[in-house]
Amino acid sequence: MLRAADVGTVLLKGGPARLPDDVAPRFKAGDRVVARTLNPTGHTRLPRYARGRRGVVDRDYGVFVFADASAMGQGKKPQHLYSVRFAARELWGPAASARDVVFIDLWDDHLDPA
């Protein structure tokens, strides 16, 4: 049970989702990727608006708990998490801004090479 005296320490410590960097990444910055088309009834952090859309890996954040698996009691399934850049027009069509972009954090299991 969480005690009042421990609240400060517990909050400062937090609950890091980052894991040791001992899993190989499937992608690197600059890679063209496509977000998978999946429709799980369970938890996923891949939003519908990005599924099947093409983007570019902007950054590899390292290895993290895979939220989709963790939520379903399937363990941490450590894998690389990336910041993926999607052009507004790729997501929303030609009427969208030609210049603007959306960055979405996606894991290895959300992506395929494009």
Binding site: M1, H43, T44, R48, A71, G73
Partner: protein, 104 residues
């Protein structure tokens, strides 16, 4: 899941209603709901991803018609029952008892 929570790109959900200098909590019950979620989560029977998934399963019409901390309350009840910390029966019994005893 393809739930109502997955809102990116939806139309028709209205203007952005920004309250100037809004308080952190708007009602006393919100404070308690927030703190209960955190403290119960600390027991380790579920993780943060499970807590998000719990809220996602709220019926869509209810989700859209209720406030943020009502979502948290709904999700917390679901988790507490799912993980066996409380039973649905004892929650409802306590609610009924408090309703009987509440000021009129």
């Amino acid at each position: 899941m393809n739930g109502i929570h997955d809102m990116g790109g939806m139309h028709g959900l209205g203007p952005i209603d920004r309250e100037e200098n809004e308080p952190v909590f708007h009602h006393a019950w919100e404070r308690r709901a927030f703190a209960l979620n955190m403290a119960a989560g600390f027991l380790g029977d579920w993780n943060i991803d499970m807590s998000r998934y719990a809220r996602e399963q709220m019926p869509p019409a209810e989700y859209l018609a209720t406030s943020y901390y009502e979502h948290w309350l709904w999700g917390l009840e679901r988790l507490l029952v799912e993980k066996g910390l409380l039973t649905r029966t004892e929650i409802e019994a306590r609610v009924a008892e408090l309703r009987r005893r509440a000021p009129r």
